[in-house]
Point group: C2
Chain length 332, copies 2
Amino acid sequence: MVKKMTMREVAKLANVSQPTVSRVINGNKDVSEEIVKRVMQVIEEVGFVPNKTAQTLKRNQSKLIGICVTEIYNPYFVELIDHLESEAKKRGYNIILHNSKHNSILEWENIQNFMARQIDGFLLVPTGEYNLPRISKLPIPSVVITQTIKGFDSVGLNHLKAGRLVAEQFMRAGHNTFGYIGIDADDKFRGFENTLYENQIHFNSDNFIAVPDGENSNLLIRKAIEGYLEQNNEFQFSCVFASNDVMALEFMKIAQERGIRIPEDISLIGFDDTYLAKVMGISSIHQPIEEMITTTLTLLINRIEQEVASETVSIQLEPTLIERSSSRHRRT
Amino acid sequence: MVKKMTMREVAKLANVSQPTVSRVINGNKDVSEEIVKRVMQVIEEVGFVPNKTAQTLKRNQSKLIGICVTEIYNPYFVELIDHLESEAKKRGYNIILHNSKHNSILEWENIQNFMARQIDGFLLVPTGEYNLPRISKLPIPSVVITQTIKGFDSVGLNHLKAGRLVAEQFMRAGHNTFGYIGIDADDKFRGFENTLYENQIHFNSDNFIAVPDGENSNLLIRKAIEGYLEQNNEFQFSCVFASNDVMALEFMKIAQERGIRIPEDISLIGFDDTYLAKVMGISSIHQPIEEMITTTLTLLINRIEQEVASETVSIQLEPTLIERSSSRHRRT
DNA sequence: TTTTATTGTGAATACGTATTCAGTAATTAT
DNA sequence: ATAATTACTGAATACGTATTCACAATAAAA
């Protein structure tokens, strides 16, 4: 049991004062070579690690960045978190993760917790609009991620274009009945529907399989799809756009169970291009996660380090459609 | 921009002293009704949140529990983290997550970071034995999770029995050639092999598909399986035990691509019983995650709160085999 | 030599909170 | 009435660090 050390104790062992130890640790140059050596030696020996809590209090900065996501069972968010952690570490920050579970109340509690823990800034995958007004009044900066919101610093995907890419791909393959599975009619759906509309195709709203958001999403997705099947007996479309890969995977499985071949009977395109899509050969809209993270972090850290309250910035990144076997079939 | 408030400022607004505000917040009973009301009012109005950093410093406890896992792309760990967060919150703790990426150096850095951030204790999914000696010398308690290690507080699964369950199930279904896919010959493999041996069946080590550990595991898994196929032309077994569900999924996909039917041609059983297994209908060894988390947390928090250094405790939980379609086929 | 820089070091302080201690006012007992 | 409790409240302090300031010792300039 190595005792927890303080600078004072290190100082005593090295026969110097506490401030001197502080200076050695922070690389302050006006400390003599000899003392630096002596102090470093003691630090090594006793395994001293400076107390970041005290540093935070004193410096009024924690080098902590918060991230609050709406769920963690979607591998897309896991990828996001993973990249964020690596990239933040490179820039000298640690991250602290919270999960709002699609719950605005919990989201606000999480943000309060961020504040209490003195984080320097945070990233937010918002549960909705509910907390945004008060978030913008907070004394620390935040950046909304995965979607762009005007009036907020935000970095997201061009969802309209993503929907368009999918619609175009399906049309090119000769489809004329379309399905959609997702939580609500968001931009990616709008891009999808609009593109069809522009091509004189009416999206039949019966083929919108609405999945309620919430925890245990796999079950909810299955329920939603089975609900559709009860209503319609069978899938009334030859291609379907799933608003994330988890949904795409669930759809694929249900199709499989019912002897529906993908892509021969129904073409499938997912969203996020997670490892699920990669493993299962599901076509998917790719989000440039690394670019999203670096862009977001740069923005956030700028806000943190230069207190200037300038105009909010919204950045849209471009989606790409990655084709795999689930949609490689031409309709005749 | 609501300014960040301190107790002093709240105190001034409420015409009381800072210690009184502290007492109100901590529910100290010797404060008059009237003052409590007055202070609470101000707190509400200005949205004051106590600075946990300062509290940590003063109280010498952060109410933070660390968890260091070896990867986060395996949904099993995501489940673990999710449950841990909920359960820890119930007990008044927040968690701080680190990822060692199967790297012992990084693992130690992460633990140093834990120490610096003044966490009260941590859970560890170890990368190996490398850091264990120095971990046991740390001034804060830790519990190893997912595997039991003697001499360490640890909570894990009875892996030997898990391997046994799988072997028994395969034998019952009439199989006589067996495959295994995993990182190394751990206890679950030993349980598997031993059980076969006890039944006069020799496990052919050519059918051990070894996957190197590391990041981007999906790719590594595929490489390993394809490597096997290059050597052996086709799978030389009628059933296979995958040491986690990610591997099971990848195996299933590769089989699918090659027109091998599961379970008709090859039976498959995975490990961890994650949503991947549930969605894809893969039989899997279920770990009682909730029990594991509550047990672990209880142990850890006991260690934290009562400083008594008593004997280390190792707890083994019981695995269950969840049968799904991937192994529901009787060999004739 | 004395003065002026220069360099290296420690004493004192502050960050925001919790807590001990002393002290005032109000209440009860004598 | 006075003494003895009781109930509140504020002043002072400490947690571990970074930083300002003063000061000693040395080196450079006069």
